[in-house]
């Protein structure tokens, strides 16, 4: 599980105390849902985003 407070501090967030809690608590809740899904991915599954070759040809 990610330590969002440590990540916030490492990226230079000026927030501390309750302000930092307000920032990180929703991420901690999201983490509990998201991390098991991410850990369950098979290596062959590619992302949904597409690079569109047709861009700019019209």
């Amino acid at each position: 599980m990610r330590d969002w407070k440590a990540i916030a501090k490492a990226t230079g967030s000026p927030l501390a105390g309750k302000d930092l809690d307000r920032l990180t608590q929703p991420l901690e809740a999201l983490e509990k849902l998201f991390r098991p899904l991410a850990n369950d991915l098979s290596p062959a599954l590619e992302p949904s985003v597409e690079f569109r070759m047709e861009a700019g040809v019209e």
Binding site: A8, L37, S48
Partner: protein, 461 residues
């Protein structure tokens, strides 16, 4: 009056475009200080467009059912020479020198744009309590939220300021205000409507669509705005069709899915009762109601949050030095998004593909799926938590719980009003369909509307 009724009145010369526009301006003058639905009203511009429509129609040029009809657009659609704020101080001086494709197509269809509508700041929230341009209020009860982010669009339509309005939907932002305000809201398939010229929030989640007073009017809007746009690489090459359901369309032969999991958990009892009543009515109108087990919507919602946090912060990163220009809730979410690692964003897009494949299998069993749009009716303005199923939930997460995941899938979704609570607040029914099958969800919505599913007009005078 609906767009179809107004269009008929125009062609019968019972009213003129200038008269319709003048009446709309008077209504806005009277109500906007209370509802704060508009950020900017364009009366002179609208009247000049109405006069043009009148001249064209008198000379036999008919651009179709939107010709001469007063509408408005959420203030994130670029209009040449008109400030486009996105509901934000960051963009308050942004004056585009081009029209968004949506505006270009609506004006090409002859619609008269009356102004730019208020919204949640940057479309990044569900209250439309805008700290810069005023708190939008629900026309059914002005102490209540209209929902968001397209709250001004829904309020303006329901309060009869305009006949229809454009909104955008990144995690429910058309369907939520439509449900809370008792309007029809259509989120078309991702790629059906060009995003060109609309201020982005989440590139891969943003959908543009109408909010109207009836289902067929939403079809009229979609007819005008759908189709390939070379300015938007994600726009589909599928040919646009006539999306307006036939008069007398029927539910017979249609298989409507009734989710046995997720969508009917932790609902306000009045919402549940109204939605179950609408589904029973659909069955009595000839539809086959089929129980379905939907894939993991909680997972879809989590994926949607990771993608939106990442994409929105990427969009707004150049402006984040100017912290005092953001409202507190939006700034918090933008700060959160900056912390999401690239690996999480990529993995969210990988999970997205997996869930989309799982969800697509449903469409071999059913033609549409019926759900509540929101688990609750409109909360009081400023209310941060909602009690549902015996526990308190964050109001934003509760409000988006039944709609956010559908943006991850890119599927079309329609919200129609299906009842009023005991305190007189609208309840929304959500109709989900397969990709690019807006025609079927509109047909289902129109047949239910014809069959008596709906609410009386808003009493705001």
């Amino acid at each position: 009056m609906t767009i179809r009724e107004a269009a008929s009145a125009l062609r019968d010369k019972r009213v003129s475009p200038v008269e319709l526009t003048t009446a709309a301006i008077s209504r806005i003058d009277r109500l906007n200080s209370k509802l704060r639905a508009f950020i900017r009203v364009l009366p002179e511009y609208a009247l000049s467009r109405a006069r043009l429509a009148e001249t064209e129609m008198a000379s036999g040029r008919d651009r179709g059912p939107l010709h001469g009809i007063p509408i408005a657009v959420k203030d994130l659609f670029a209009m040449r020479g008109v400030p486009t704020t996105g509901g934000s101080r960051i963009f308050e001086n942004l004056v585009p020198d081009f029209d968004s494709t949506v505006v270009e197509r609506l004006e090409g269809a002859g619609a008269v744009i009356l102004g730019k509508l208020n919204m949640h700041e940057l479309a990044y929230g569900v209250t439309s309590a805008n700290p810069h341009f005023g708190v939008v209020r629900n026309p059914w009860n002005t102490e209540r939220s209209p929902g968001g982010s397209s709250g001004g669009s829904a309020a303006a339509v329901v309060a009869n300021m305009v006949y229809g309005a454009m909104g955008s939907d990144t995690g429910g932002s058309i369907r939520i205000p439509a449900a809370f305000c008792g309007a029809v809201g259509l989120k078309p398939t991702y790629g059906r409507v060009s995003r060109y010229g609309a201020l982005p929030l989440g590139y891969s989640l943003d959908h543009m669509g109408p909010i109207t007073r009836c289902v067929r009017d939403a079809g009229l809007f979609l007819n005008a705005i759908a189709g390939r746009d070379p300015h938007d690489d994600s726009s589909s090459r599928r040919p646009a069709i006539d999306f307006v359901p036939d008069d007398g369309c029927s539910l017979r032969g249609l298989r409507l899915g009734f989710p046995e999991n997720f969508y009917f958990e932790r609902l306000d009892s009045e919402v549940e009762s109204a939605v179950r009543g609408a589904i029973a009515r659909a069955e009595s109108l000839g539809a086959e109601i089929k129980p379905v087990w939907v894939p993991d919507i909680s997972a879809l919602n989590a994926v949607g949050q990771v993608i939106l946090l990442s994409e929105a912060s990427a969009v707004m990163e150049p402006y984040l030095e100017n912290r005092a220009s953001f409202g507190a809730d939006v700034l918090t979410r933008l700060d959160q998004g900056r912390l999401i690692p690239a690996t999480d964003y990529i993995n969210a897009q990988r999970i997205r593909r997996k869930l989309r494949i799982e969800f697509d299998k449903l469409w071999s069993d059913v033609d549409c799926i019926l759900t509540p749009t929101t688990p609750n009716t409109a909360p009081v303005i400023g209310q941060n938590t909602i009690r549902l199923g015996g526990r308190d939930e964050d109001a934003r997460l509760a409000t988006t719980r039944l709609v956010r995941g559908i943006n991850v899938l890119g599927l079309p979704a329609l919200s129609i009003p299906c009842g009023l609570s005991g305190s007189g607040l609208p309840v929304g029914l959500q109709i989900l369909g397969p990709a690019f099958d807006e025609a079927t969800i509109l047909k289902v919505g129109a047949a239910m509307e014809d069959g008596g599913v709906g609410i009386p007009p808003c009493p705001l005078s």
